[in-house]
Symmetry: C2
Subunit: 436 residues, 2 copies
Amino acid sequence: MIFTFDNSENKEHLYLQVYHYYRDLILSRRLPPGSRMPSLRTCARDLHLSRTTVESAYLQLAADGYIVSRAQSGYYVTDIARQQPSPPKSQKPELPPVRYNFASSGVDRESFRFDLWQRYLKSALRQNDRLLSYGEPQGEADFRQVLSDYVRQGRNITCSPDDIVIGAGVQSLLHILCPLIRDKKTVSFPTSSFIQGSTVFSDYGFDVRYRNKDSGVIYVSPAHMTKWGEIMPVSRRMELLRHVRERNSLIIEDDFENEFVYLQKPTPSLFSLSGGRGVVYIGSFSRLLLPSIRISFMILPPELSEAYRKKSACYNQTASKAEQIALCQFIRDGHLGAQIRRLKRLYSAKMKQLLAEIQNVFGSGCRVQVGAAGTALALTIPSSRSGSELKKTARAEGLRLEILEEASGSVTLLLSCSAIPSEDFRPACELLKKLL
Amino acid sequence: MIFTFDNSENKEHLYLQVYHYYRDLILSRRLPPGSRMPSLRTCARDLHLSRTTVESAYLQLAADGYIVSRAQSGYYVTDIARQQPSPPKSQKPELPPVRYNFASSGVDRESFRFDLWQRYLKSALRQNDRLLSYGEPQGEADFRQVLSDYVRQGRNITCSPDDIVIGAGVQSLLHILCPLIRDKKTVSFPTSSFIQGSTVFSDYGFDVRYRNKDSGVIYVSPAHMTKWGEIMPVSRRMELLRHVRERNSLIIEDDFENEFVYLQKPTPSLFSLSGGRGVVYIGSFSRLLLPSIRISFMILPPELSEAYRKKSACYNQTASKAEQIALCQFIRDGHLGAQIRRLKRLYSAKMKQLLAEIQNVFGSGCRVQVGAAGTALALTIPSSRSGSELKKTARAEGLRLEILEEASGSVTLLLSCSAIPSEDFRPACELLKKLL
């Protein structure tokens, strides 16, 4: 609604406009029950109306039960909208709290040294002068230097800090990358589960396919080929590289959870195997530190690095500057390495324990798939219920599950051990068995 | 380069491949002087080659002066690449440090209470459980509630927290918004200066125009119509709203620096004038708090809010969760309001002082344009040099300038008072005069 400020229109018309405007907002709950109405003065000033006009409207709203006046405080929205049928978006069934969460993408609460991270962030916050200006669009220079050392040591990747772009999560990086590689037209993902990635590509007009080797862009997570942590063997990595080189296509290597590969020798990255040609490497810290830290980076091969440089001033940095400064020093002091070793030990022990409990509870009546990486396993169990039924029933009992697949008479679940404490494995498995 | 692991190939061939691979990296400075080579063991393991093969390659590299061995420590890249012609990207002329910065988008170092912000961030970091999980894709719920109260009080905007989307800066929000409004096809910006905005639209295939009222999307900053702070008067706001309503087009109202409007009555927002129909409202905190805090938000009108909800699971949140939690409590406790009042006082005093110094130094030989908002003014002065010449000469003297426009015999500069301390106004103006 547009308020016309034409003085020739009569006052009554104006006050009714104000009345209807707020009535609609209240009934649609866009002005929720209990919220404070703008003061008469503010409202009159902002709408360029007289105070009397606004007051008439408010008095009518109060008379009709939409708002109520509280002494010394102003007008407040009543819960009249609650008595109307609710809009669909707020209709959520009441659910009990989650007791056991096998479906969480969070991390183990024992895994992270909050005190240490707080110290680094506090020290970053003391760099007043640095925080007074916008960050470098590409990411802080010293942080990119540290990252280039980190990937050289950890992934045998040699790259210049100039080829590294930092962003707040993988999506922010893809938003910069996609326009640079638009001529590739098609992209292939290993599964349909990474919607946050495929959405960006389809938003940019790419044709999104699954497991299609002839696409212009191949998006792979070699350490996370399946959700239960199967990794891509070196022979297939070599084959893939040869294939894309022949076709002049591009690999995006999302090295997600490569740090959790339980083998003695981590498998070499596609980027290092290719010598950095035709491969974009993406690394993230959310699973290593805290999911709430939104810092990822990509390493561009020479031709894309050149194309990015021409456009770099067109993009603002998305990652928090203070968190970049803190993480830079955190890595320099060796804490990231220590954190990775701690997580690897922790998750490999938890996976072992979870396997043992599944054996105890389900015995030979189940099938388990475990990979060489990650924090989850796939459990196939006989079930008379469908996957969605089982998920719903379990949730009503406080157990959160993720369904991977279902066949007639059986369901495959993805059990993540990362956020659930290991002492809960047994009762959670027993509860699951009871529900089948 | 791809290493073939075929055992039938002879050892010499493999070692030369490794040699050439590293030589190229060193000469192109992708492996910069002084950096450590991967250890023989790591390199051999990752490339699935024997240690002997790698060692032969390293010895050859050392013999040819590309790397040097340091006892107990490994091999390091020499500065041989420095003796080669440098790649163009690292050729930057040596410049003196900046003494006076009239071109900074930073904020005044006196303007922000770092100690206070540190306290809020520290308290956010103590919420361990919350930080262990990923954030809500749309932004933290309590923060969105606080923002909806904030815009109701400050901008007379009534909206539900469900219609607010948080992101790490305006670009992150446009990356979500553009795919939802793609059918609008064309977008108009007031000037060509906001390339971070226009780039996102053109990346999504929009036809980008300037000052074209018939575009499908009209991007405006009503409190920042020109860089020197001219604001859009209410009459033009009303006219614009009527125009777009007739054409069913969409306004994106970037309310940048509306808090710095020096008038008694802030001009009402387009969003509130339209009753939230056909307008997307964007607000930011970078200029109010710290440029390094990457938090912005947009308020979607009902139809777009609905469309967003269907896709919301496809987007991860980009803004730091800890900073969202901190800012939420910071606003609740009234500190944002106090900060805005402080900044308004500070910048209005600085603008006055800058005007006075310009009068003192340039007298009647100049023309000044000042708006009703913001932190900058436009200064037109006679100059025999071209704009880019003046900028370059000034920079060589430690004075950073932004050129707005040039005519024959005169140059218009944008002087921002935000980052430069007021005691530097006089010497900076005098230096500028000397250079003309």
